[in-house]
């Protein structure tokens, strides 16, 4: 290795010339090439968020159609097939195409800003993970719109998903689409882990990591472990369907229960993967409006990790009724009860933060604080299903439908809406309208609870899940009508939210760098941030850099104005994973359309596999390989150089 490979970064202060130089280096090109080629985490993050909201709207429309069908007994607005495709597609959309990608969107946008870095660790992978998400989402929806949507629920149990019982393309679209989407999740997760562990600002040791990061970091680690299980399961299902293998076919020595194990060993950790980052949003945002740091940072961070670890040992609670031996069930029952503890830590920490702080009520605060209550409702109903004998009665009734919606809407959608109110000024440079915000909050809150609180009772009165209609005289009629009304109120609230976003985008008050007087690094840069994020790399000395001097202690030690300039190329600094001492200058890639081309190639490959048209598959494979080759072609300017202080 030649001496030129080693270089110490220049330390200096920001200046107009420096900023102009960085702007030239980091700005994405305009036009279509820039649109398809950008690797800027902020643009990618916003694309993720918008795409996920579109899927939320689609899933919402599907839900409203189902609620119309269930508004009264014996209605026939939808045929059984239509209803079954709707509920399956609704689940797939909300769980896979909304709940996880929306959080990836926020994390993409926020992480480098929170961490004091100029981009994610692997910007091109970041672009790839978005394009693959979009392509697989379109792939799955092409299935749905051509009448080939999934029709066996998002959980897709065999043998009903097998070809004997499901001869159409529905399950092929779903199987291949899920393998396809899994690529995006996996590379996204790897990127988050490396970003959090290697590209933090100097001085941001692990114990100074913004609490938001812990959620997505933990979830990403889990995803790396569990997504292969579900991708494999779907791939095996596709082989069973198309090539006559017998992984799940009892007639050929296969095991229907194998599917359930593979699915839920993924599925349950996945539930935590789509709530932990959202809990992180609350832990991050709520204290700002309580005007104090989060109570119990360390124990909240640890309990996030603990939840995930325990989360690997509870998947069988989805399978209590499958005839597994009682002794085995009792372990999973115990683990499912124990997991209440780490979850309760967060609840008590948030409550204590409100009680020991001086809360200011804003729309974001309302979303974050109301989430605490819905978290508890979703939590206790989960605790009830953890008890095996009780679950034998509760499972597969509307009680569980109520539970999952308190978890997914209460713990995911509400924090996400709060997060939009909170970070909108950073992303757009404009404040959201608070007056509309209050209306928006109360309508969503009342609509949601009106729809889903009575649903617990519907469940206790025995209404089974996934039925396209129900008879009268079962005691379910008026409860279902209330739920239908509530769901439309909730939808109205979401519409008002979208209206507020559009209105504020056009005419919201101009936001300065730190409108909420919040403590973390993203609020130290202009709103919206420049393409390079930080003109000089900050050096961090505490957990709340922008509140230093106000929390007691040594006063202000974080350096925001003076630090590494890193202006001789698209550069950022890599730091050690525990203490964040700088150890490498990382050259960041220029914009490139290779990730886009790679995702197109992958999409063509999957279409070829779906239709079993091998020439199409081979064309896809060639396209994919060509894009990979261009991507990986060695370039001198991308060498990594060590930083020596």
């Amino acid at each position: 290795m030649r001496a030129v490979d080693f270089r110490s970064p220049t330390i200096g202060s920001d200046s107009p010339e420096h900023a102009a130089r960085l702007e030239r280096l980091w700005e994405s090109s305009r036009g279509l090439k820039g649109f398809l080629g950008t690797v800027d985490h902020k643009q990618i993050g916003i694309r993720y968020i918008i795409t996920a909201f579109i899927f939320l709207a689609l899933g919402g429309i599907e839900a409203l159609l189902m609620r119309l069908q269930l508004a009264g007994p014996n209605l026939s607005l939808l045929t059984p097939e239509q209803y079954n495709e709707l509920f399956s597609t609704h689940g797939m959309t909300m769980i896979f195409l909304y709940a996880s990608p929306i959080l990836s969107g926020f994390s993409n946008y926020l992480w480098p800003l929170l961490l004091g870095s100029r981009d994610m660790a692997f910007p091109r992978l970041n672009a790839l993970s978005y394009w693959i998400y979009l392509a697989s989402g379109i792939f799955l929806y092409v299935g749905f719109l051509t009448g080939n949507g999934p029709n066996d629920g998002w959980f897709n149990y065999v043998p009903y998903a097998a070809r004997d019982y499901n001869p159409g393309l529905n399950e092929d679209f779903y199987s291949l689409g899920m393998v396809f989407l899994g690529i995006s999740t996996t590379i996204g997760a790897a990127n988050f882990i490396v970003t959090a562990l290697r590209t933090r600002a100097p001085g941001m040791s692990l114990n100074r990591l913004p609490i938001l990061i812990w959620g997505t970091l933990t979830a990403s680690a889990a995803n790396l472990v569990v997504v292969p299980a579900v991708s494999l399961a779907f791939f095996m299902l596709w082989l069973d369907r198309q090539f006559g293998t017998h992984f799940f076919d009892p007639a050929g020595g296969g095991q229907p229960l194998l599917w359930q194990h593979l699915f839920w060993i993924f599925g349950h950790p996945w539930v935590y993967a789509i709530v932990l980052p959202a809990m992180g949003m609350v832990s991050q945002g709520l204290p700002v409006f309580c005007r104090r740091p989060l109570v119990g940072y360390a124990i909240v961070a640890l309990s996030t990790v603990a939840t995930m670890v325990l989360g690997f040992g509870v998947w069988v609670h989805h399978m209590f009724a499958t005839g597994l031996p009682g002794l085995g069930l009792s372990f999973f029952s115990g683990a499912s009860i124990a997991i209440v503890f780490p979850s309760a830590v967060a609840v008590f920490a948030w409550l204590a933060t409100i009680w020991l702080g001086r809360p200011v009520i804003t729309t974001a605060f309302l979303y974050f604080s109301s989430m605490i209550l819905m978290f508890v409702v979703g939590g206790v109903s989960g605790f009830m299903t953890a008890s095996v004998p009780v679950d034998w009665q509760l499972t597969d009734t509307y009680f569980v439908v109520a539970h999952i919606h308190y978890v997914l809407i209460g713990i995911n959608v509400f924090p996400v809406l709060g997060a939009v109110y909170y970070w909108f000024p950073k992303m757009t440079g404009r404040m959201m309208d608070e007056r509309l915000g209050r209306w928006n909050f109360w309508i969503t809150f009342i609509g949601f609870n009106l729809a889903f609180l009575p649903m617990h009772v519907t469940g206790l009165l025995g209404m089974p899940r996934r039925v396209y209609t129900y008879p009268d005289g079962m005691g379910w009629d008026s409860l279902n009508l209330i739920t239908t009304i509530g769901s439309f109120v909730l939808a109205a609230g979401i519409l008002l939210f979208l209206f507020n976003v559009l209105k504020s985008l056009r005419s919201g008050a101009i936001a300065d760098a730190n409108p909420w007087d919040a403590p973390t690094l993203e609020w130290s840069v202009p709103s919206p941030p420049p393409p390079y994020n930080f003109a000089v790399i900050p050096t961090v000395a505490s957990r709340y850099p922008l509140w230093e001097g106000r929390l007691g202690g040594r006063g202000s030690a974080t350096s925001l104005d003076r630090g590494m300039l890193l202006e001789s190329g698209k550069e950022t600094v890599a730091t050690s994973s525990m203490d964040a001492t700088p150890d490498m200058i990382v050259e960041m890639p220029e914009d490139t359309t290779a990730p886009f081309a790679l995702s197109i190639g992958t999409a063509v490959l999957f279409v070829g596999l779906l239709l079993k048209t091998w020439t199409v598959a081979v064309i896809g494979l060639l396209l994919l390989s060509a894009a990979t080759l261009v991507w990986l072609w060695p370039r001198r300017e991308l060498r990594e150089r060590e930083a020596r202080p």
């Binding site: 149990y157 043998p159 009903y160 019982y165 009892p250 229907p256 005007r291 104090r292 740091p293 109570v295 119990g296 009724a321 499958t322 005839g323 009682g326 009792s330 009860i337 209440v340 503890f341 309760a344 830590v345 609840v347 008590f348 409550l351 933060t353 009680w355 020991l356 702080g357 001086r358 809360p359 200011v360 009520i361 804003t362 604080s369 209550l373 508890v376 409702v377 109903s381 605790f383 009830m384 008890s387 095996v388 004998p389 009780v390 034998w392 009665q393 509760l394 597969d396 206790l460 009165l461 025995g462 209404m463 899940r465 996934r466 005691g475 909420w516 007087d517 509140w547 106000r550 007691g552």
Partner: protein, 320 residues
């Protein structure tokens, strides 16, 4: 709650009896927790003296505040009590409900099909066993073991007043058991999604005093009654060459096993797995228009002439 057929807040048999108090306990604990947290949250939020937007937020100065960690510890400590109680009670309840009875008074085989329940009363002597569908008769006060089989896809056997759910899975045999305290009809339902007519896969458990049960069993053992009128005779002919492709009527040429046994059709209270009351009108409607009544069911619409239909009806109504 007994007026609500599928409610599980009402128990009428040994296994459900064991579960119900635990359900109530966890439900009440859950409601109390929600109320307490809601009160804490509400009173905490009410302390907010200011409300508004960014300017109001910034106007309140940031302070380190009290540490607060002990509130988390206290919360966890208090939570531990109901959690531990639930854990112990759960383990006790699992032990009491998870093993099948050692000496069942009666053993049945129930197979889940798209979208009906096959019920087989087996016996060591072939002439002592028979089959029926969607209606399970049991003697009161006797533990009944139910072996569950998967006929096609996964279904789940559930009679909330008597027992929780157990799946019927192809390739394996699961066990459930029921013991009714009092005579009565207890509604059940398939609760594992199984395709287009999952919504209409009901069943009924009829608990009878032992003497009545024995009478019922003896009646079920008999082959179909021979036709007595010429209409019944003609109806039988149609049943044999049309219905007999899927259904069995014991003692006749109709001997297929793909669909519910019709030997004593009129002894059952419902048609189409709990969907319709078994009345003459519904029976005719079902034969003619099964696909309109239960779209996707494996029973096709029968294009019978009016005359044939009358004959078939006459014959089927004789199958007491």
């Amino acid at each position: 709650m007994s007026g609500v057929p599928l409610s599980y807040l009402h128990a009428a048999g040994q296994r459900a009896d064991t579960i119900l108090p635990l359900t109530w306990f966890t439900l009440i604990v859950s409601i109390l927790v929600c109320i307490i947290i809601a009160a804490l949250l509400w009173s905490g939020v009410r302390r907010a003296r200011t409300g508004g937007g960014a300017a109001e937020t910034r106007a309140v100065t940031v302070e380190p505040g009290a540490d607060g960690g002990r509130w988390i510890s206290l919360g966890l400590l208090i939570s531990a009590v109901p959690l531990l109680a639930t854990l112990i009670w759960t383990m006790v309840a699992i032990a009491a409900t998870s093993g099948p009875p050692a000496h069942p008074g009666l053993t049945l085989d129930v197979t889940g099909h798209q979208w009906w329940w096959e019920v087989r009363y087996g016996a060591t002597e072939p002439d002592q066993s028979f089959e029926t569908a969607n209606e399970i008769h049991i003697p009161v006060g006797v533990p009944v073991l139910i072996r569950l089989h998967g006929g096609d896809v996964i279904h789940s056997f559930w009679v909330p007043a008597l027992t929780g759910k157990t799946d019927t899975i192809p390739g394996q045999t699961n066990f459930s058991w029921i013991e009714a305290r009092q005579p009565g009809r207890y509604r059940g339902q398939c609760t594992e999604y199984c395709g287009s007519q999952h919504a209409h896969m009901g069943l009924e458990v009829v608990a009878q005093p032992p003497a009545d049960f024995e009478r019922w069993r003896a009646a079920q053992l008999l082959p179909a009654r021979a036709p007595r009128t010429s209409a019944e005779q003609r109806g039988l002919a149609v049943v044999e060459y049309r219905c007999g492709l899927c259904h069995e009527v014991r003692g006749t040429q109709a001997g297929a096993l793909a669909a519910p046994d019709l030997t004593h059709l009129m002894s059952r209270r419902t048609l189409a797995a709990g969907l319709l009351p078994n009345t003459p009108g519904n029976l005719v409607g079902w034969i003619e228009n099964a696909q309109d009544i239960k779209p996707g069911a494996l029973m096709p619409n029968q294009a019978l002439t009016g005359e044939q239909l009358t004959d078939v009806q006459a014959y089927l109504e004789s199958l007491q």
